[in-house]
Each structure stands twice: as structure tokens, then as C-alpha cells.
């Protein structure tokens, strides 16, 4: 087991290096002068020269790449082009918002997805099974940017139950400690802010959870069906155990292995979906930040933000793989 984990961690470095090569060369493959691309066509000759100097664009490729790697290794992510803010500080401010949203979405997906999956599997070919699997198929086919707008129209505009966008209402004071607003509200025992933050979270979280919920439901159903066919389930039933005990103590535990992997793989879907969801709901997270950067052509943010997200994604996937090996020791032998 230890050797498997070490091997997986060692693979991490070439992968991250490869990611950095792609991101680095993407800026240089694009037609035209990178400095001009960064500053726009109307930039003055001095400004262009200064930027080339600053980024080392007048040096050979391999030295430029070396500098890029050196900056990454020291966690220096540079400055945004327009506001001259440190990219690292921006990430630190915005990342908690994305995590808060993603975790909420993941919790919704796990709960709903597993409930629907288990009921569908135990009542296979029932009307509930058909409807929930059709719903799951519609879920994976859903343009979530549209669904978010539909939610907005129904729950914010027409019914007025939920706030239309943002993370916190204007006028609600919250002392920011960790930038996780819900956590901050609990820490400072500010219950008004807590209620407001949760209220703002509901619509974006449900929107973002659509696709993962559908995937988890389908996976749980198929894993449960697979397990329910096994002999030990027949044995458990023959022993006269209650339906509840058979399903939750004997079947679910074994069906969980593929489900946990599926849930782990949803992080990528969530991080990608966060760009769409955050843009619609004006949620001040990393996704909206990346979108704004693309719109303003702030290539420093695009370059370093992508590196950060991809790096994080690689590490999360490693974590999922290791976790998987812990639950299912057969994997690490392969």
C-alpha cells in the first residue's frame, strides 16, 4: 500500500510539469507578440518594452519557461495585468467562495443521488425507478447555465423566496475571518449573516449539483443492483434479516466503492461547472474570476489561475485514487 501511494505521488510531478508546459506554450503558440496580446494593440512602445523586460519575453524560450517554473515553485503567481493585484491574494479571497459552493453542491448530490439510486435499485422496474432514471438522464443532459436562470426566474423573480444573486445581502455585516462566509458567521455567532449566507447559497448550489446528482444516482443504482445479485445478499435474506438491514448493512457498504470513486471524480465537473454557475449568480469565486479574466483578456490571471486549478485538480484526483486504494486494497496490487 505504501509503495502504491509513493508511486502515485511520484507520478504527480511529471503530470504537473506537463500541465505547466501546456499552459506556458499556449500563450506563445498564439499568433502575434505575447506582450502585445497581454497589453492590447494600442499599448505604447515603452509599455510593451517594459512588460517584455518584466516577463523576460526577450529571452530564449527555455529560460522563459525556467523562470515560469521558478515562479510557480516559489508560489509566486504574479500580478493581474489591469489591477496590479497579487494573483495569489485574489485566489486566497475567492477560492473559499468556490469551495463553499462546491462542497454544498457535492453534499446535495451525495444525499439526493444516493437516496434516488438506492430506492431505484431496490424497486427495480417500478414506476419510481423509471421516473428517477429518466430524471437522471435529463440531469446529465441539462444546460446548467439555463437551469440556473430558470431557478432565478421561478424562485427569485416570481416567488421572491430566494435572493437573486451574490453571496450576502447589502447591509448584512459579517466579520470576515476565513472567507468561508457560513463558517465565519458561525465563528462570530452572527446568526443573521448565517441565515443570509445560507439563503444565498441555495440556488447556486442546487444548480451546480444537477449533473453530479444525476451521475451519482445512476452509479449508485447500478452498483446496488450488482451487489443485490450476489449470493451473500441471498444468504442475508434467507437468514431472515429485515429488508432495511440487508440493504444498508450488507449491500450498501459494498456498493459504496464505485460510488465513492464517482463522487471523487465529480470535483472536475464541479470546478468546471463553477465557472458557469458563478457567472450566472454573480458568485465571487474562482470561476467568475477566471471568466472575467477571459473577458478582459488578463492572460496573467488565465495562465496562473489555470495552473492553480489544474494543479489542485491533479492533487484531488491523487487523493481520490489513494482513498480508493484504501477502501479497495485489490487496486494497489495491480
Amino acid at each position: 500500500m505504501a509503495s502504491y501511494i509513493i508511486r502515485r505521488i511520484l507520478i504527480l510531478f511529471p503530470t504537473l510539469l506537463g500541465v505547466s508546459v501546456i499552459i506556458f506554450f499556449m500563450l506563445h503558440i498564439t499568433p502575434g507578440d505575447p506582450a502585445e496580446l497581454l497589453l492590447g494593440e494600442r499599448a505604447s512602445e515603452e509599455a510593451l518594452h517594459e512588460l517584455r523586460e518584466h516577463l523576460g519575453l526577450n529571452k530564449p524560450f527555455y529560460i522563459q519557461y525556467g523562470m515560469f517554473i521558478k515562479r510557480l515553485a516559489t508560489l509566486d503567481l504574479g500580478e493581474t495585468i489591469w489591477t496590479r493585484q497579487s494573483v495569489w491574494i485574489e485566489i486566497k479571497q475567492r477560492f473559499p467562495a468556490t469551495i463553499e459552493l462546491s462542497v454544498a453542491a457535492l453534499m446535495i448530490s451525495c444525499t439526493l443521488g444516493m437516496i434516488f439510486g438506492i430506492i431505484s435499485a431496490t424497486k427495480q422496474y417500478s414506476i419510481f425507478d423509471y421516473l428517477s432514471m429518466l430524471g437522471a438522464l435529463a440531469g446529465v443532459s441539462m444546460p446548467i447555465f439555463w437551469l440556473g436562470l430558470v431557478f432565478m426566474l421561478i424562485f427569485a423573480v416570481n416567488l421572491g423566496w430566494l435572493p437573486i444573486s451574490g453571496r450576502l445581502s447589502v447591509g448584512v455585516d459579517l466579520e470576515v475571518v476565513t472567507n468561508f462566509y457560513i463558517l465565519d458567521a458561525i465563528l462570530t455567532q452572527n446568526w443573521e449573516a448565517f441565515r443570509d449566507a445560507v439563503w444565498h447559497l441555495i440556488m447556486p448550489a442546487f444548480t451546480l449539483s444537477t449533473i453530479p446528482t444525476a451521475i451519482v444516482a445512476r452509479m449508485t443504482r447500478s452498483a446496488m443492483l450488482e451487489v443485490l445479485r450476489q449470493d451473500y445478499i441471498k444468504t442475508a435474506k434467507a437468514k431472515g434479516l429485515s429488508q432495511f438491514k440487508v440493504i444498508f448493512k450488507h449491500a450498501l457498504r459494498n456498493a459504496l466503492i464505485p460510488v465513492v470513486t464517482t463522487i471523487g471524480l465529480q470535483f472536475g465537473v464541479l470546478l468546471g461547472g463553477a465557472i458557469l454557475t458563478e457567472t450566472i449568480f454573480a458568485w465571487p469565486g474562482v470561476g467568475k474570476w477566471m471568466y472575467d479574466a477571459v473577458m478582459q483578456r488578463d492572460y496573467m490571471v488565465i495562465q496562473n489561475g489555470t495552473m492553480f486549478i489544474a494543479g489542485l485538480f491533479v492533487i484531488i484526483n491523487l487523493g481520490v485514487d489513494v482513498l480508493y486504494a484504501v477502501i479497495n486494497p485489490r487496486i494497489s496490487v495491480k
Binding site: P14, T15, G18, V19, I22, I23, M26, L27, I29, T30, L137, A138, V140, S141, M142, P143, F145, W146, L147, L149, V150, M152, L153, V157, R218, M219, R221, S222, F267, G268, V269, L271, G272, G273, I275, L276, T279, I280, M290, Y291, V294, M295, R297, Y299, I302, T306, I309, A310, F313, V314, N317
Partner: protein, 293 residues
């Protein structure tokens, strides 16, 4: 030819029969056919010009609304353009994007995967590492970054989606080729002196088609969805191209006044994607029992 024994029938006939019995697949096939027909015959089906601006006809509600008229069945948008016509023409754009991007990904993925799986060794290691690296970009992020660098256009969006889809084809083909390589017919082909490329493309690949067809169908679904998302973000189709995602983006500003502008393009995306997903699921059951879930 009428074979006397059931064993003489081509196995494909059995699979087609199985597909026909699969209700979800047939439903999917019907939906797709409807969209394809809309795309092909768009100029004959659509009641109006999709990009013609008619300022006196602004924001007319759908026909069933009191203020609506049968002239514009699904109403008009803020520039007075007929929404039904834009949706019919949008089918053309979305299907084109799906065919081009999935087609590119299919060709490159198949070549990369089969060569990698056939020759194995060093080459395979390097290629698969590269594939892993592309897969380390979450979901749509790589496509967004590619378009951000190349500049927003429908063409670049197709290209970006193609890049992000190459890995899934390469992986599936490689896995199938690795499995097929162990079989006797490959050894026989080698023994009679067939060239490697001939073995790969004429002997092995036709036997790997099942999972590939399933993957292609499911990729059509996600390509339509991703292209719409890119266009929604302003990175794909540019105005005045009638594209579902771009139309939804435009309608955001109208959410308080005219909800129908937003509703129908979204339903169109959902319908088209659902059609391909239904067919893909059905094909999976018929062609590739191993992948059945």
C-alpha cells in the same frame, strides 16, 4: 440472400434488432431525427429569417399568450427576431459543431489510441502520460482557456472541444486494441505477413467499433452542451449567428420582462442533448454489454 440458419445472420442484424426493442434508444433516435431534419431543412421550415431585425415586432410573447399572435409562434426577442426560426436554424449550428468537433476528436483519438495500444512500450507510456495531462484540466476549463487564447469564434470553440475530447477516444481505442491484440486473428494476420498499419486499421479497429460508437454518440451530447456553454460565455458563436447558448446569454438581461426568450432555446438544448444521451444509453446496452450499468 436469405440465410437458412440463424447463425448465418450477420451479428449486426441481431444488434440492430436489439436496439429497436430498446425503447429509450428508439425515443432518442426519433428526437435526433427531428433535430437533424430541422437542421437540414431549416430554410424551408422556419417561418421567418432568423437574423432579420424587425424593430416593430420587439418582444412579442408566444402565440398562446393573450398578446401573442400566430405570426410568431414562440414570440420574438428584443430585436424582433422570430424565436422559432432562430431555434430551427440553431439546430443547424449545434449539430454542425457536434459533428465537426466530435469528428476531429474521433479521428485523432482513434489514431493515437490504436497506434499507442498496438506498438505498446515507450511510445505508449509517453502518449498515455500526455493524455493524462490533458485530462488534468477540469471539464470545460481547457476549452475555455484555448478559446481565450485563440479568440472567441465558433470555429475556435469547435477546435477547443475537439482537443478536450481526444483523450476519451484515445483511451477507449487503446484499451480495445490492447485486448484485441492478444487474439488469434491478429497473430494470423501477422503470420501471413500483413503490414502493421493494415492490421491496425483493417483487422483490429473494425472489432473495436462497439465501444467507439457508444462513445461517439455520448460525445455528440456533451459537445452540444459544451458548445452551448462556450457560446453562452461569449466564447463560441458570435452575433447574429442563431445559436441556442448565445441566445440564452442575450436573454439574461430580459429575464424580468420576457421569460419566453430564455425558455425555448434552453428546452432545445435539453432536447437535443437528451436525444443523443438516450440513443447512447440504448447503444451501450445493445453493442457493448461490458459497459452496461
Amino acid at each position: 440472400m436469405n440465410p437458412k440458419h440463424p447463425e448465418d445472420r450477420h451479428p449486426m442484424l441481431d444488434q440492430l434488432a436489439q436496439l429497436w426493442r430498446n425503447k429509450t434508444a428508439v425515443a432518442g433516435l426519433f428526437i435526433i431525427t427531428a433535430f437533424v431534419l430541422c437542421g437540414i431543412f431549416a430554410p424551408y421550415l422556419s417561418p421567418h429569417d432568423p437574423i432579420e431585425v424587425a424593430l416593430y415586432e420587439q418582444l412579442k410573447p408566444p402565440a398562446w399568450d393573450d398578446e401573442g399572435s400566430t405570426e410568431n409562434l414562440l414570440g420574438t426577442d428584443d430585436l424582433g427576431r422570430d424565436i422559432l426560426s432562430r431555434i430551427i436554424y440553431g439546430a443547424r449550428v449545434s449539430l454542425l459543431v457536434a459533428v465537426v468537433s466530435v469528428g476531429l476528436a474521433f479521428c485523432f483519438g482513434t489514431i493515437i489510441g490504436s497506434v499507442s495500444g498496438y506498438y505498446k512500450g515507450r511510445l505508449d507510456d509517453i502518449v498515455m502520460r500526455g493524455i493524462d495531462i490533458i485530462l488534468s484540466f477540469p471539464y470545460i476549463l481547457l476549452a475555455i482557456v484555448v478559446v481565450a487564447y485563440l479568440g472567441p469564434s465558433l470555429q475556435n470553440a469547435m477546435f477547443a472541444i475537439a482537443i478536450t475530447y481526444v483523450p476519451r477516444f484515445a483511451r477507449i481505442v487503446r484499451a480495445s486494441v490492447l485486448e484485441e491484440c492478444e487474439k488469434d486473428y491478429v497473430m494470423a494476420a501477422r503470420a501471413i505477413g500483413a503490414r502493421n498499419l493494415r492490421i491496425i486499421f483493417l483487422a483490429i479497429l473494425p472489432n473495436c467499433m462497439g465501444p467507439l460508437i457508444v462513445q461517439t454518440t455520448l460525445s455528440f451530447a456533451s459537445a452540444i452542451l459544451d458548445a452551448a456553454a462556450l457560446s453562452f460565455l461569449g466564447l463560441g458563436a458570435q452575433p447574429p449567428t442563431p445559436e441556442w447558448g448565445a441566445d440564452i446569454a442575450r436573454s439574461r438581461a430580459l429575464i424580468l420582462r420576457a421569460s419566453w426568450v430564455m425558455t425555448f432555446p434552453g428546452l432545445a438544448i435539453l432536447g437535443a442533448v437528451l436525444g443523443f444521451n438516450l440513443l447512447g444509453d440504448g447503444l451501450r446496452d445493445a453493442l457493448d454489454p461490458r459497459l452496461r450499468d
